[in-house]
């Protein structure tokens, strides 16, 4: 009897230790997701678990939303999705309970379980993230299904936020120039290429869209008055405002991270130079001064430095300088044609266009001058634009014949076209947008 009691005490003690270590492990797992050496979490999206009798049609329509969510999660790079076995829709569940072992056999660490119930008028979808290691839900969100893709995008971002503390990009948008006969107008897409919206109908050529950091405005170049001028479009008030209409070229607007300034390329002093335009005071400060062409400025995420293209060495190369024009240094020495630099929002990398064997390719390198890598190989690839989390790039490519928008991950993997229009170029990936 005594022995039994002792055993019971030992067992209780062991279970306590075991549980505490589980709690510790749980924190560890979720923190690990946000470290720089990201190891994606193996996730299986299970079949829809219908609560009660629900028509097959409804299940099929909700499945479309779940598929959008799955695509978002897979693209995010935070998860690696494994397919559940097609043959058995009830696989891995017994009377509604998760059979952890069956899923772990597939290599899964977590499950996304979509649960569907219907009342008279509405379908309720509950999205659960079930951690197989600790045997419980670590995220749950119930929505009334409105069958919009935006709903799936929002849940994806909420899952990523809850599990990693980071912002996801599923609800972001991409502004770009859409070819329309002789004209190019600005349009807007969801980040995955759906939900096309026209932004301008100015019947002229409009180029180089650039988002204000709050996502409320777009600066761009317009040929409305038969010369290049910079305008800003307020997307809430649908108001167009002229920013720079000085003599000569007015190009490549780049909004500063604090939204108070804009770096521009102007040629009013003879050749193209970079200027800093303060929006409140409408004052201009010249930052570069050389016989060469200095253009296409881009900001460092802290707003203290600029990256730009200059042909002062005889061919276009990428340079860095402090945002007051001082402390100039050359970044690229590879090849003889490097242009269109964009600084990653994470601060560590700069993507740019390099001419390699007669074709334009997207390349990237560390801001510290090393780690040069070519990211594209087919056709001409131009106009790189970082996602606000710094994990993906949008760009335009003519590899399929006409110029279309493409996305890829930061190291060049997962390249996919997101448009199939008459012609699409100059993508500008939005910042994280406030949820409407």
């Amino acid at each position: 009897m005594n022995n039994k009691k002792n055993f019971k005490h030992i067992f209780t003690g062991l279970s306590f230790l075991f549980l505490t270590s589980l709690v510790a492990a749980q924190t560890d797992v979720y923190l690990k997701l946000s470290t720089s050496e990201r190891r994606p979490i193996e996730l299986v999206v299970t079949s829809i678990q219908a609560q009660g009798k629900i028509p097959q049609e409804t299940v099929a329509r909700v499945k479309e939303i779940v598929d959008v969510l799955s695509d978002d999660l897979a693209f995010s790079l935070y998860f690696q999705l494994t397919e559940p076995p097609d043959s058995d829709p009830g696989y891995g569940f017994k009377k509604g309970q998760v059979l952890a072992g069956s899923w772990q056999l597939l290599g899964a660490k977590m499950l996304l379980i979509p649960e569907l119930r219907s009342d008279k008028k509405q379908d309720h979808l509950k999205v659960r993230i079930y951690d197989l290691g600790v045997g419980r839900d670590i995220f749950a969100k119930e929505i009334i299904v409105d069958h919009s893709r935006g709903q799936a995008h929002r849940i994806c971002d909420q899952i990523i936020k809850a599990l990693t503390g980071e912002n996801g990009v599923a609800s972001t948008k991409i502004a770009f120039c859409q070819k329309n006969g002789q004209h190019k107008e600005l349009s807007l897409l969801d980040y995955d290429g759906y939900n096309l919206q026209k932004l301008t109908a100015l019947n002229t050529i409009n180029l180089s869209p650039d988002w204000s950091p709050d996502g409320g405005k777009l600066a761009f170049i317009s040929f409305q008055r038969n010369r290049t001028e910079i305008y800003s479009l307020d997307m809430k008030a649908w108001k167009l405002q002229a920013i720079s209409q000085v003599e000569g070229l007015n190009t490549s607007p780049a909004w500063s991270p604090d939204g108070k300034k804009m770096a521009l390329t102007l040629s009013r002093d003879g050749n193209a130079e970079i200027y800093l335009y303060t929006l409140d005071s409408r004052s201009l400060q010249r930052l570069t001064n050389s016989w060469a062409i200095d253009c296409s400025p881009g900001w460092s995420p802290n707003g203290r430095e600029l990256v730009f293209t200059s042909d002062r060495p005889g061919s276009p190369q990428i340079y860095l300088m402090d945002a007051d024009g001082s402390n100039l240094r050359r970044l690229t020495y590879q090849g003889n044609y490097n242009t269109s630099p964009v600084w990653s929002p994470k601060g560590d990398k700069i993507a740019f266009v390099s001419r390699i064997n007669g074709f334009f390719q997207i390349c990237a390198m560390n801001v510290t001058g090393d780690g040069y890598v070519q990211l594209t190989y087919e056709g001409d690839n131009e106009d790189p634009s970082w996602s606000p989390d710094g994990l993906h790039l949008a760009f335009s490519s003519n590899r399929t014949g006409s110029s279309q928008l493409w996305l890829m991950h930061w190291e060049g993997s997962g390249q996919k076209a997101v448009t199939n229009l008459g012609g699409a170029l100059m993508p500008a990936w939005s910042p994280f947008l406030p949820i409407p």
Binding site: F18, S21, L22, A24, A25, D28, V29, L99, A100, G101, Q104, L132, G133, V134, G135, Q285, R286, L287, T288, N289, S290, S300, P301, N302, R304, E305, M321, D322, D324, G325, S326, N327, L328, W343, K346, G347, D348, N366, V367, T368, D370
Partner: protein
């Protein structure tokens, strides 16, 4: 006799009852076994997932231990190195000029290193510099400042020393700590007056003076810049700034 016949007649019946009872008992036992087996299965699945979780934790702990052990090892090696350096320095200082070997009385002096061990325990200079610079671009200014200070302490004669000194100033400037920034930019000018960060340091010193409301200081910095580095991009910027001064 009658009793025997009756018994013989009843025997199959009684036996039948016995068999049936036995059957019921066996079925109960089977049911019990089946339920137990199911329970066991559930428990096994649970144990299995717990075990997997536990294995994961063990791996993580192992990895963490290895990392910690590695860094501890590195620190110990670095301390050993420092101790050896200190020892050899003390020995050299204690030796009278021209003396070949100390009278060690059985204690051997530290053997001269085969090759300079300087870099053995130090972090890689490029890596240290790059990490600090990345902290600047990410806006982690305090981290960046301490990174560059560490760099200067370990590699004071590196070709990146003037850059490090400049970025310390920039780290303060970005935080609007103009007095501290000015002191650091002045240090660039004092220590590395002819290297590539000098012109930028003059320009930034002028900006610090301007922010501090010290117009004469700003003017003087920019004028010296124009005089000393007339062909630098900063000289052009300085001319514009001087025009804006009251």
């Amino acid at each position: 006799m009658k009793k025997t016949i009756l018994f013989l007649l009843c025997f199959p019946l009684l036996a039948g009852c016995g068999v049936k009872r036995e059957y019921v008992r066996m079925r109960d036992q089977l049911d019990y076994l089946e339920t137990s087996q199911k329970k066991m299965e559930t428990q096994m699945t649970l144990m299995d997932s717990l075990l997997r979780a536990q294995t994961d934790i063990t791996y993580q702990l192992n990895a963490e231990m290895r990392t910690r052990w590695g860094s501890l090892n590195e620190r110990m090696m670095s301390m050993d190195q420092q101790y050896e350096d200190q020892q050899s320095r003390t020995m050299t200082q204690a030796l009278p000029l021209g003396a070949s070997k100390p009278d060690s009385k059985g204690i051997a002096p530290p053997a001269p290193p085969d090759k300079p061990k300087d870099n053995g325990s130090k972090p890689d200079p490029k890596q240290l510099y790059d990490t600090a610079y990345l902290d600047i671009t990410r806006g982690n200014y305090d981290l960046a400042i301490s990174g560059f200070r560490e760099f200067l302490k370990l590699y004071p004669s590196s070709s990146l020393a003037d850059n490090s000194q400049y970025w310390i100033g920039e780290g303060y400037y970005a935080q609007k700590k103009y007095q501290e920034a000015l002191a650091e930019f002045q240090k660039v000018l004092a220590l590395y007056p002819h290297q590539d960060k000098a012109a930028a340091a003059y320009y930034k010193s002028g900006l610090c003076y301007k922010e501090l409301g010290q117009t004469p200081g700003a003017r003087e910095s920019w004028q010296t810049l124009i005089k000393n580095f007339p062909r630098s991009p900063e000289a052009g910027l300085a001319q514009d700034r001087i025009k804006e001064l009251p």
